[in-house]
Amino acid sequence: MPKALSIEVTEAGLDPFQERGGQNNKAGNRFEDIFLTHRVLKHTPNYLHAEIEMSFTEQAGCFVDDVVLEAAGLREFYQLKADKGITWGENNGRLKDRFLRQQQDCVANGQDFRLYVVVANGHRAQSLTTNLPKEFAASTEVILFPRLDRIAQVARLDAPHQIQFGQIAASRLSGNAEWEDIAEAFHSARQSCAPDANGYLSVSQVVTKVRSQRMARVYTPWDEQLAGWPEVRGILESIDGFEFWVDRGYFEWRYPPADGGMNVSCLEPGFERFVQRVLELRPTTFDDLEMLLP
């Protein structure tokens, strides 16, 4: 877990611009809220498949502080501006000054860092990019992120904001509805997880909550260590036309061209019961197997 950010700033209140950004602005809050869950989802394949943790917080109390992420030693600071009129120079250069001071703070603390301003308007993104102050141009990027009404809409974002739901989902066959469920579940879990003493949450906390409360079906490694499973695997493989997978932690099956399903985690008692029933009844056709399927 990362250390507290810029303690001297938060405790001494040295940031004259601090406004706990957007807390009085419902649309701005939604923009931030969805953006943060999007970032969590975007990182999740790295956690699930390479065990790379990411911690994150909102309204961190530093200069660029709407969202702060840290993964693999890199700290990313995001300022989100949903309004169409924002410029680097408005309000006596307030935005510019925030970025400049954040950069100075990171350099002084020897941090590996990147700064971002996130806007929802294409013209604004272009203007901010064109006029990016040279003092922090090398460490700063302008991101155009769409204003979404619902978190479920992140399931259909294209590059560069596309999320690799295929690597998050336990199912390899399911489509948009499953991805929307995962987005909703991560959003809900993120909002209800308790942060640490420094106000940080981690992707692992969110994934753990989603899994433990069965909020959505997420990729989970399974070592196939279950009594009777090797024999059941052989029985299932011998059924003509039947296909199945357990490598994402759920028992998923397909009987082309029309049938398929995924209803039980390999770690749940329901899967053990299925294994036992297959061992007892030894189905040889899909018709025999169908009533045993979990």
């Binding site: 399911s174 929307e180 909703e184 579940a185 029309a258 209803n263």
Partner: protein, 225 residues
């Protein structure tokens, strides 16, 4: 208070009012099947084409309401593809339910033009939303008919709010009764008379997913001939 569409026929009105009073499973199934036939009569004249129609139902409705709808359409020369979903129910918080698909039967439909999404009752619209959402972005139909004997007041708005305007604008509805009251557990009054799974005799909200409709078995046999 129950409200009916102005155009409702005598038979549909009699059946939808009879439904909550029926206690025998066989009788309940029969009334539901006949309501499906009545939905077919209502929706058929509104179809822009008989090609590219996809009937989407849940496993609990397949053998009864959807069967009636399918038979009614077949009688008019319309042969929809069938999609049947088995939905679980997951709560993410108060008023935030999801209905993940745990099993599916999906007949291939190239150039889908019209969705007919049929369900015995639409209240939270959670299941209907999931099942439309699973297919609509891939198949991109021009019309999406949502068909139900009974709807809870506000269900249409709730459903449409879950989709972008470009999708929500394609929704059309056929229903026979709109109720405006529900119990704390979400059961609509008088609605369809209680838990439709139990009234249809296929278990409760969990065990109903073990039920494989005969309609699915019949159509699968044709695919595997």
């Amino acid at each position: 208070m129950r409200r009916y569409p102005e155009s409702i026929g005598d038979t549909a009105r009699r059946l939808v009012d009879e439904l909550p009073t029926v206690k025998e499973v066989i009788h309940y199934r029969a009334v539901m099947t006949r309501l499906g036939e009545q939905l077919a009569l209502e929706v058929f004249p509104r179809l822009a084409s008989l090609d590219g129609i996809v009937l989407i139902c849940t496993n609990e409705d397949a053998d009864f309401l959807a069967r009636g709808l399918l038979d009614g359409l077949k009688a008019q020369g319309c042969e929809p593809s069938l999609v049947c979903f088995w939905n679980d129910r997951v709560s993410l918080g108060v008023g935030d339910d999801r209905a993940p698909i745990v099993r599916r039967y999906v007949e291939q439909a190239t150039a889908a033009r019209t969705f007919l999404v049929v369900k015995s009752i639409i209240s939270s619209s959670c299941v209907v939303r999931t099942n439309i959402s699973e297919l609509v972005y891939d198949l991109n139909p021009q019309d999406i008919f949502v068909l139900a004997p009974v709807v809870l007041k506000g269900a249409q708005d709730r459903l449409e709010s879950e989709f972008e305007p470009g999708i929500a604008g394609r929704f059309k509805y056929v229903w026979f009764a709109e109720d405006d009251q529900s119990k704390e557990n979400g059961e609509v009054i008088p609605g369809v008379g209680g838990s439709v799974y139990e009234l249809l005799g296929i278990g409760d909200s969990k065990s109903k997913n073990s039920f494989v409709p005969e309609l699915v078995r019949e159509r699968r046999r044709l695919l595997h001939r």
